[in-house]
């Protein structure tokens, strides 16, 4: 059985243009422990911090709720985790339309079949996906949708933001992993394939020297339901989801998995700097 062990260090720093006196936030930066992934250790350091509490949210993500009182001009979050990824034997019969279209499946996966603000796309775009997948079984349809998305969208950072909708990115023809994922979700859901958003990290260089930190960033990919379980697929990169992918959070779209959200007291602006470093440990 193949395994990979990593250390992930994710630092987010918020610099405010003036001192703020309080903030209440939630952090989703702790990798999951589940089949195929074990988080051996995870530390979240926050400066300054007054109080925190941890829980698992509706989607199973590890959340740290935090509160900072007292004047501060910057908030620094650093999540350092040691994660082991291992292969799982996943032999399953291929997905069928019958299974996916059954009342039971459609009902239980309702949340992952709905197109909401972030994943909604124009009629003609959705029709295009349907055409590309015409006559194909679910597995091949997924590939067809991913191909269509990769055909249309160019990977280009700096054009879109965390709040960009799939329809907006599609109109631009450019985006980052989040936009690729939202567009893919729109296509898959339109076809009746339940699909969800996965956020986490991707080790960019699987053959990196052990012990050598590699600069990386947050990554997002898709999982679709084949009638029995969830199958991962990475629409942004032309490669399958592998042991290089580390999952942190799941949801219907970006809103459910945002690594950091909350409010602060005051009307100062904030600047965000993010650094992600991944080190192969084995």
């Amino acid at each position: 059985m193949s395994t990979q062990r990593y250390r992930v260090s994710h630092t987010s720093t918020y610099d405010y243009t003036g001192p703020i006196s309080a903030s209440h936030n939630e952090v989703r930066m702790t990798p999951l422990t589940e089949e195929g992934q074990t988080t051996l250790e995870s530390r979240l350091r926050i400066r300054p911090l007054t109080w925190s509490n941890t829980y698992r949210d509706y989607f199973g993500t590890h959340v740290t709720a935090l509160e900072t009182s007292g004047f501060h001009e910057a908030l620094e979050l650093e999540a350092v985790s040691t994660v082991e990824r291992y292969d799982v034997d996943r032999e399953r019969p291929a997905a069928t339309w019958d299974a996916l279209r059954s009342g039971g499946c459609r009902d239980r996966c309702f949340e992952y079949l709905e197109l909401r603000r972030h994943t909604e796309l124009p009629e003609d775009v959705l029709a295009g996906f349907a055409q590309a997948a015409a006559g194909l079984d679910p597995t091949a349809s997924v590939a067809a949708v991913v191909d269509a998305v990769r055909d249309h969208l160019d990977y280009e950072p700096g054009v879109t933001q965390a709040t960009t909708l799939a329809s907006e990115a599609w109109a631009e023809g450019k985006g980052v992993c989040q936009d690729f994922v939202h567009a893919t979700l729109g296509g898959l859901r339109h076809l009746g394939i339940p699909a969800r958003y996965v956020s986490g990290y991707l080790m960019p260089d699987a053959d990196a020297t052990i012990g050598q930190p590699v600069t990386s960033e947050s990554h997002a990919w898709v999982e679709w339901f084949d009638g029995e379980g969830w199958v991962p697929v990475d629409p942004t990169n032309d490669r399958p989801v592998s042991l290089a992918h580390i999952a942190v959070a799941r949801g219907r779209d970006y809103e459910d998995v945002a690594p950091f959200k909350g409010v602060y007291l005051g009307d100062q602006d904030a600047d965000l700097t993010v650094t992600v470093m991944i080190t192969r440990l084995s």
Binding site: H24, N25, E26, T50, W51, N53, Y55, R56, D57, Y58, F59, A65, E67, S69, D107, R108, F110, E111, E114, D256, K261, G262, V263
Partner: protein, 529 residues
């Protein structure tokens, strides 16, 4: 008898006048009292009623204006045995809704068991705008999520009570129950002497007890507050009345702060910890971290403080998934499923447009039905087919086809009527009933009476006050055997002693003392707690 001679009989079940034209048993005394009053006396009492209301400052906000709440002087009377059914039925309903909410938010396993067992589609839960994932997994300290509920009932043409709607989020109106009673006591003291009417003024005591019982860690002396959106809110009068009668602080979001995972209120003696918040603010405005980030009515960090077990919010966040109009149609099934009982009070027959057969039926008969948006409140968006014109019905059909999940339909029920004073004469007007129930974790206490809302325009079936309706005092008659101790200081007759004009020089000190002793005035009803 003159005032009732021309009282029209309609299809609706009249609460006071039976089919034979005579008063039903519970109304005999009242019918007699009213019949003896001439038009002048009637008008005088009606004026006195209106004045007593204005004096109490009982107003509500209608279209941005503060208005006196229209209270009609004819009470609605419910005999003890009929109330018994309502009492038990409402209790049962609340227990079933509690079980449902517990299943939705704190179930073991992947899915709520009500979904697993095929009773309710999961879609109805997750697609509800009131299903709040932010509170999934949260278990209230004493298991109660519906501390206060208002279960709206109507009586159909056969005289059978049916549930029209459940309200388990932020139900309002109980302050009018209390004010209406005070006003009527002054208007018809003779009726209160002749009849044994169950009291309503101890509602705040029950509410406070339930709120205290909901405190975290079974704290025996918790700090309870009422959270109001502020003076501009249409129900502000009720918030301040309840806070006053319970003897607890009335706060706004900006008085509260979350620090160290606890909620505190800012007082002149420093920040004081708050344990239970009776909130009259909607979920969406409660916590900008999880809900609307622009809300100024809530407290950032509140949901996380709840999750940390430091504060109880009543009613619980997320209750709205249970008073969704579509879920309403399943509540009789919940009663069977969770409680293993048959429903004591039935629903109004409901067609779920999301079901193709139901949609077909509704589209074909839309001119005979009442069609309601699933997410509406206060009667907004509701269409009464029998009263709508062709254009409205066409537009409605289009909306139904476009978003079937968003609509339900019911046959038009002729709500029961009660004589109401309109332009000096008694006319039948449609009413409903909103009894209020308080759940303290061990018992569900239903306030005897409730708010009877009356639609003032002739034939109008929509009774919600936000559309300009009125109300009536609701009298539940006690059983003939004394079951409750008579409360001192309540409903005693008023002895008014007329004071003589003060003399310029009180030369006789003894006499002036005697004058003082004669000054005894007992207020009609005991002062609020």
């Amino acid at each position: 008898m003159a005032l009732f001679d021309t009282y029209p009989q309609g299809r609706a079940w009249d609460e006071m006048i039976g089919r034979d034209g005579g008063p039903r048993a519970p109304y005999e005394v009242m019918h007699d009292t009213l019949s003896r009053l001439g038009p002048a006396e009637l008008a005088a009492r009606s004026d006195q009623l209106a004045r007593s209301y204005v004096d109490q400052g009982v107003t509500f906000d209608y279209a941005g204006e503060e208005r006196a709440f229209p209270l009609d002087l004819v009470p609605r009377i419910i005999p003890a045995d009929e109330w018994d059914i309502i009492d038990r039925g409402v209790q049962q309903r609340v227990k079933a809704l509690e079980a449902f909410l517990g299943d939705v938010y704190a179930h073991e396993g992947q899915l709520p068991r009500v979904v697993n067992d095929g009773i309710l589609p999961y879609e109805l839960i997750v697609s509800s705008t009131h299903f709040h994932r932010a509170v999934s997994g949260l278990r209230p300290h004493n298991g109660v999520r519906v501390h206060v509920s208002g279960i709206d009932l109507i009586r159909d043409e056969e005289g059978v009570f049916r549930v029209l709607e459940d309200n388990v989020r932020v139900p309002s109106g109980v302050s009018y129950v209390i004010s209406n009673r005070r006003a009527l006591t002054n208007t018809f003291p003779e009726a209160f002497q002749a009849l044994r009417i169950r009291q309503v003024h101890d509602y705040p005591r029950h509410l406070l007890r339930a709120l205290r019982a909901a405190a975290p860690d079974g704290n025996p002396n918790p700090t309870v507050v009422v959270l109001t959106p502020g003076v501009y809110n249409s129900a502000y009068f009720e918030h301040s009345l309840l806070a006053r009668m319970m003897g607890v602080e009335l706060v706004e979001g900006r008085d509260l702060i979350c620090t160290g995972g606890t909620v505190r209120m800012r007082t002149t003696r420093g920040d004081q910890q708050v344990d239970v918040i009776y909130r009259r603010v909607d979920d969406e405005f409660l916590d900008p971290v999880h809900f609307r980030p622009d809300s100024v009515l809530g407290v950032p960090g509140l949901i996380n403080a709840m999750r940390a077990g430091r504060v109880t919010v009543a009613n619980a966040v997320g209750n709205g998934v249970a008073d969704d109009k579509l879920v309403y149609s399943y509540v009789p099934d919940f009663i069977r499923y969770y409680l293993d009982e048959d429903p004591i009070i039935p629903n109004v027959d409901t067609y779920r447009c999301v079901e193709p057969d139901a949609l077909r039926h509704v589209l074909a008969n839309v001119d005979q039905m009442v069609v309601k948006p699933v997410d509406g409140s206060g009667g907004k968006g509701l269409v009464i087919g029998t009263e709508a014109d062709g254009k409205t019905l066409d537009a409605l059909r289009a909306k139904l086809k476009d978003d079937p999940r968003g609509w339900i339909a019911q046959p038009v029920v002729q709500l029961s009527t009660v004589p109401t004073l309109i332009d000096g004469a008694f006319k039948p007007r449609h009413v409903d009933l909103r009894p209020f129930a308080v759940n303290d974790g061990e018992t569900v206490t239903v306030l005897p009476g409730g708010l009877t809302r009356v639609a003032l325009p002739e034939g109008e079936l929509v009774v919600n006050s936000s559309q300009g309706g009125g109300s009536k005092d609701t009298w539940v008659l006690a059983r003939s055997e004394p079951s409750e101790p008579v409360d001192e200081g309540s409903l005693e007759t008023t002895e008014i002693v007329v004071m003589t004009a003060p003399d310029e020089f009180t030369e006789d000190p003894v006499r002036s003392v005697k004058e003082q002793q004669k000054q005894q005035q007992q207020v009609g009803e005991g002062a609020p707690c």
